[in-house]
Symmetry: D2
Amino acid sequence: MNSAFDKLVEMFMRFPGIGPRQARRFVYFLLALDSGSLARLTEAIDELRREATQCRRCGYHFFKKSITQETCQICADPHRDQSQLMIVEKDLDVDSFKKTDSYNGFFYILGGLVPILEKEPGKKVRLTPLSKLIKEEVAAGRLREIIFALSVNPEGDYTIEYLREMISPLVAGSAIRISVLGRGLSTGTEVEYSDAETLRSALENRH
Amino acid sequence: MNSAFDKLVEMFMRFPGIGPRQARRFVYFLLALDSGSLARLTEAIDELRREATQCRRCGYHFFKKSITQETCQICADPHRDQSQLMIVEKDLDVDSFKKTDSYNGFFYILGGLVPILEKEPGKKVRLTPLSKLIKEEVAAGRLREIIFALSVNPEGDYTIEYLREMISPLVAGSAIRISVLGRGLSTGTEVEYSDAETLRSALENRH
Amino acid sequence: MNSAFDKLVEMFMRFPGIGPRQARRFVYFLLALDSGSLARLTEAIDELRREATQCRRCGYHFFKKSITQETCQICADPHRDQSQLMIVEKDLDVDSFKKTDSYNGFFYILGGLVPILEKEPGKKVRLTPLSKLIKEEVAAGRLREIIFALSVNPEGDYTIEYLREMISPLVAGSAIRISVLGRGLSTGTEVEYSDAETLRSALENRH
Amino acid sequence: MNSAFDKLVEMFMRFPGIGPRQARRFVYFLLALDSGSLARLTEAIDELRREATQCRRCGYHFFKKSITQETCQICADPHRDQSQLMIVEKDLDVDSFKKTDSYNGFFYILGGLVPILEKEPGKKVRLTPLSKLIKEEVAAGRLREIIFALSVNPEGDYTIEYLREMISPLVAGSAIRISVLGRGLSTGTEVEYSDAETLRSALENRH
């Protein structure tokens, strides 16, 4: 095929979870679409490019309602609880927590987990703006709790450790508490198939 | 084939997780074994039959060390904490908790979950001996906590509800607490793929 | 989110094998891309739209090298064997056969299988252009064989039956043979797990 | 647990497809069975041990109907076609072919595939009795065809090659043909997902 075909295959291979075979199927799928559908697709992507922006405060991607809007709907919402800040890995995690209806504080999107052997993790995840935000919040005196809501795996554990060291000095002297999501049995798990760490946590968190 | 073949296929189909095809493969596997190996297999099963017994107290299956032994090693262990009783579904769950090294109380094996539409659940799971055991413990005044350690699914939830109703009157007036294993993020889970109920619990159990 | 976000989620859900969750992940993936990458993506799709076209003869999608080119590289290739026409379901099947290096005839892309209960199958798959092509080939006197290379499942079998009835009158009186890909053991299959139909074909096709 | 428990876990781990966890579940399953069921299980295994035997001719395992019976029902069946001998890997493959109703010759069970790097393959699969059987059949003058019906994978291909070299001198000068099951599309396969070798064979075997 020609270069536009190959270029698209390559681009689709960068999409999350897409291998070479499915990338090719995507391009053939596009080839079979009528011209109008293809135009609507590129228009929607262009619209995304023009109107979507990243919240200056939390890093969430959103669509500007006005040209001057710099923070997302959540950060701009005066009814949210200013005493809580939850640190998550990615935008989709915000959506997951919004569905629970049990958290009403603010979020901060790291943009990934801190890689374990990375010398300059600040180039991979959004560490500097997090320090800056926390300093501002400490100064403003509203924050009471920082909640780490990260994946339960070695990289998630390392990230929690790394952030704890980074944040502790910033909140020293304040009444701000640093907490981590509780571990235990997830929906659908059976005791027999649970690892020792999960059972231990489930036992500690019994209620 | 003949009836011994078919009988064995039928028996293996009752083994946990075994369908008709694998049951047949098992019998062909036995057919290909030498006579000595087959003899060792039946001897081991006979030994299991002769020497294994079910603990009169907790229902756990164990091997008698003497002909008069009626309770399992756990129930007979004077060093275990007599103030805690954990109710589990099956023998394997006991093994899982023993591996955690974080629980030192006693166990009670239900032998399954209470089926949701069952009219006589006492015929399916060991309810009567549980009532009896709890009454004895209440009378002896040692028990402080009953912990439900069951699967996190509709049948597990139903079982907890059912047992709570059954047990509550028995412990009324005593200081015995009924608790349930904590829910939250299990090892290996990501926030994005967690259901609302699990996130809610993880948030409540943050520490 | 806003309409551009939702529109893209909806569009990605029409991609082959993509469900709602992955569609959302795709949009978040796009949101996290820099503006340049997004521009390259829409440019590549636009290029596809402008330059890709469907071969007038066989239905394969290809990129025009000149504005007047109407048939694909395969149909235009004078070295290919004009006596054979292979009917396949989709563009990717052509690629699969090209990799075998054992077929040098022409192709015809149906664009799908004939749906079993469809009243007007000509609206779903490219039947009319196939009739036209075969008539031309019969008139030209070059064609010797039409090969059905379709999926081995009920819809594939139905399509073969349907096309056979459609094509038979067109080739009546000519020496054109209609054939179907041989069935048998595929790479990686074991006798034990093969169905009776496959074993029967493998036995007939033994060599 | 004790040694009978551990011995059984170890034995079940040798069953096809069974890992340590499922082996333990099997033993717990046995522990929960009543004494009568366990007795029936060991009786059935003992019966298998006493009455099952391996056919002296083809290697198939069967149950003797009389104490003098030395060949299986298939080898003893006068209505089967004496001109064909099919070489298969295991007993279950015989059952698969019997279900097709399209083969009426005899079988020979190799008892496995010839391991690729094995110095003495005759210790792993039944090669010597095969040579002997073929020599007898050549002498008797009834055999017309030897069919290799083995898995389509590297070890299966190696076995075919190995047996061909072993058998060719034995049948030299006779009219006995050596054949291999045909390859092609199996039930359920799609062209797009088929490897080049399978497509090539399917093309050759078109009909």
